[in-house]
Symmetry: C2
Subunit: 242 residues, 2 copies
């Protein structure tokens, strides 16, 4: 297939296909005399995969790393895509609820809390990248580990996003599966960026969150009562993972 035919079939521009060729993401065969590109069926299958990852927020650089990984398996990737699309659809459902609540508030002439205004909004770092990395492993981590509390902005943002997610759950049960899943992200984050935390240490840290007022104050910025909630969730997490 010629470049214009592919562009029309898929609904992307010729420039996009050229760009993907330039960066080595999708390399069609070329007529050596004229330089014209020809896309095979397997090129198109690969393009489908690329566009799935792109739709899920991966950068082209990441996509290239993933699909060039020796462990990369298309079937497994498709299954992961499926899961991620379901997740994204749920995220839209949550956004829909926020829109509905905002409409109700406006029509009813009352105010929403600022926190509720942004429920379901999620501009965090692509949450699927960690999962993709686990599957098609990255020998090196993208962000160099830094000294305690000297983490860079990207890590700071990741941290903030974990806090925000926990803040959204804090009205619920800290022992719920949802809360335990979210607090595990915090556990993983700490292990990745700082020292190795045992479940016991994690419990201890959790207790400090409510005992030390500075910790409590910092964390409660993300939502009143979040420190208490996290503390209980971390204690429970420790119990379950000893």
């Amino acid at each position: 297939m010629k470049v214009n035919e592919v562009a029309k079939l898929v609904g992307i521009s010729v420039r996009t296909l050229h760009h993907y060729d330039e960066i080595g993401l999708l390399r069609p065969s070329k007529n050596p005399y004229t330089g014209y590109r020809t896309y095979s069926d397997s090129d198109l299958t690969m393009l489908q995969q690329i566009l799935f990852f792109k739709e899920l927020g991966f950068s082209l650089k990441k996509i290239k790393e993933i699909i060039n990984s020796p462990e990369y398996d298309q079937l497994e990737a498709l299954k992961m895509h499926r899961k991620m699309l379901v997740d994204k659809r749920e995220k839209f459902d949550l956004m829909l609820q926020t829109v509905d609540q905002t409409i109700e508030a406006k029509e009813g002439g009352f105010e929403m809390s600022n926190q509720d205004k942004f429920k379901g909004f999620d501009f965090s770092e692509n949450p699927y990248e960690d999962e993709a990395r686990e599957r098609w492993g990255d020998a090196k981590v993208d962000e160099a580990k830094e000294n305690a509390m000297g983490i860079n902005d990207a890590e700071q943002k990741r941290m903030n996003d974990i806090y925000r997610k926990l803040a959204e759950l804090r009205q619920g049960d800290p022992k719920s599966d949802e809360a335990q899943t979210a607090i595990k992200e915090w556990y993983d984050f700490l292990n990745k960026n700082f020292t190795t935390y045992t479940p016991e240490m994690f419990q201890g840290l959790g207790m400090m969150y409510v005992q030390d007022e500075r910790f409590q104050k910092n964390i409660d910025q993300f939502g009143e009562g979040l420190a208490q909630f996290m503390s209980e969730a971390m204690v429970e997490f420790g119990e379950r993972n000893k």
Copy 2:
């Protein structure tokens, strides 16, 4: 609220808020002595609206135009957001079907057509921009109207997207509501970019699509039988709109 507090509440960066201030999209009040920004509750409501539009693919420039329009109404915008979120969720559903079909094809060891591989993929120009423009009107059109067939790339892309959407429907009934809705986009496109088409002229054009082999060949690039399908849809559209 301070800039860092807003950033954490919403899950965006301080740099993003600075950028929005710089471009005049979201202008919080400022302490005249220190230059510090303070975000009010209505600033946060506006930020919510901005992020809704952004989630739906609008550029910051467009968002600025929309929210600064004298006719802009937040309640109406929220209702439109709701509709668009539902549309996007349906698009995810279609993508899910494509993923499922791709998985099935791989596990069953058979091939999907190239066309089916990209069903549900939609990288068209933001389809909601026209709707937003209709509501909060743009005195000038972004793309200058050009002479027949001398349209620019953006219009060419819009045209291609309409064709692709119709191609996806061409196995069905050209008289179905879905088909009629899609062919109306084509009708609107022609009226916007070329001359004023009456429903009768539109029917005549449709007939030409199958009578003139060059037309048929061009259109069928997007899918075999598309010219015939469009022709029938256009005739029906004309009948309904005389």
